[in-house]
Symmetry: C2
Subunit: 302 residues, 2 copies
């Protein structure tokens, strides 16, 4: 039974970093998030691919146990394609080309079997579609996590805020939080997320880890000391997917488990950044993840 | 008996931030570091003031118990003056004016009573003077911490590296580390610090805390969740001073104590940033510091 539903893009990525490059590699927010989640829980992916998609890529997701009944094929269009580059500063991508292709007319439709899932991740689809997907559920999931993007914040910040209002966790990175709430201070941004009727605020800080705030608590997760970052693409989605997958495996949204989930999210995201596309995630298993999780504990103790 | 010796600037600072401004307020690397250290251990300050210095400022340091026998007066010059501004991004200062004045001809001379101290902080003096001060000591201190600055890294990176080679901890912030070692990766930078015969590497990351690396260990200290940063000036010096003061109070340089010292450094630096000049540091005592230290523990546990 699908416990975690992930909605997001499935893409071809051509990426160049100072440490190498890949052409038309498997990517996309939905891909990364579902793959990361599936280390912990049965996960279903909702997304669209075009007429040029690579069957090997689908097999890769299938082998991981990801339910693909929510993936539709648009025979008239090609697959979403992104070409980008990271230079010296691996924190910010330079986009060279975006072909939305099949993604531009994507209207996610949840398979019946997904509509009772308790954990839902709304990836990089528009805020309108995020709300639409949420409405397709038979009941309100236990935990809904929505990602956001610079693009949607610039286009319609009020609608992005409405999504945060409707979901449980509006997830964003530090620069998105600063932009959306017009503040440089991440504590202020967290408080503004909470003021939007969000029970939890989580802000991802890339190499610096993540912070978590509730009305009563604050938690700072360290970044993992990565020396060999090859490609940061998908780190945020891996983070979100692993978080939800972990919480679904515990079937708990207690603050204690959420803190752990954040560290599991950082753990999987750190493995992801050590390789291009999903290359490194394909090499690891639960043992690797648990061992690095323990390292996270060790490096933050004093 | 003076346990911690601090060498650095004593200055008038005129500072503007989005949250207010001060004119000719007490500042300087030596001032901040000695004040922060004196919460924990008897501290002596070596620096120079000009003919226009404010006696109230000296009294403020005296009342804190700081030994001022190392402070000389240059009757022919004015006091070091810095005029700067922080805009939206409080991480980087914009310098509007620097008048070195008495500081330009400053040749630190340690009082005899300081020459046996076990803990030495070499603040923002030139690398040449840092080495000169170290040679004035009667014996090698237990722990020598040297700060560095963008200015000296640009001017003479090899000499900055020579200082790191001679001292125990070459302290720098993330942007300085990236510049000095020509890498964007802070793990790589830490390893390069260690390769310079430094037993410990510490990199300050501003709001994101600090990282610490030895041959065998890694530690990530969180930043304190500050909502009301008024003026970040002196944060790095407060961090260094409190670190050394704490270690001197324990008379230990064990890894366990160094980790704690880093968190005490972050604690005092966070109080400092909540006010202009030394205004907020003047309002706090050991109780406040210990209570916030405990909060640091709480926010990093999972």
């Amino acid at each position: 039974m699908v416990k975690v539903v992930v909605v997001g893009s499935i893409a071809f990525d051509s990426i160049k970093t100072p440490f190498g490059s890949v052409q038309k590699a498997l990517g996309g927010s939905g891909t990364y998030a579902s793959y990361a989640s599936s280390f912990f829980s049965k996960t279903g992916l909702v997304g669209v691919i075009g007429n040029d998609f690579n069957q090997n890529y689908l097999n890769l997701l299938k082998r991981k146990g990801i339910d693909l009944s929510g993936v539709t094929v648009n025979e008239k269009e090609k697959t979403f394609y992104w070409k980008g580059e990271y230079k010296f500063d691996l924190n910010s991508a330079i986009t060279h080309e975006t072909q939305l292709n099949a993604f531009s007319s994507f209207k996610p439709e949840l398979p019946e079997a997904y509509k009772n899932a308790d954990y839902l991740f709304l990836g990089n689809i528009s805020p309108e579609l995020q709300l639409n997907v949420l409405n397709q559920m038979n009941k309100r999931p236990k935990l809904v996590l929505a990602d956001t993007m610079n693009y949607y914040i610039q286009k319609n910040p009020e609608l992005v805020k409405k999504v945060i209002n409707e979901v449980d966790i509006g997830l964003m990175n530090d620069s998105e939080a600063r932009m959306l709430f017009n503040t440089n201070n991440l504590m202020t941004a967290c408080k503004k997320i909470l003021a939007l009727n969000s029970e939890w605020a989580i802000i991802k800080k890339g190499e610096h880890g993540a912070i978590f705030m509730t009305e009563k608590e604050f938690f700072s997760a360290p970044g993992y000391p990565l020396e060999n970052v090859k490609d940061p693409t998908g780190a945020g989605d891996s983070f979100a997917g692993a978080m939800l997958g972990y919480l679904a495996s515990k079937n708990s949204v207690s603050q204690k488990e959420i803190k752990k989930a954040i560290v599991y999210g950082s753990t999987v995201a750190s493995f992801n950044a050590e390789g291009f596309s999903l290359n490194n995630l394909q090499k690891i298993n639960k043992k690797h993840i648990n061992s690095r999780f323990k390292e996270f504990k060790k490096i933050s103790e004093f």
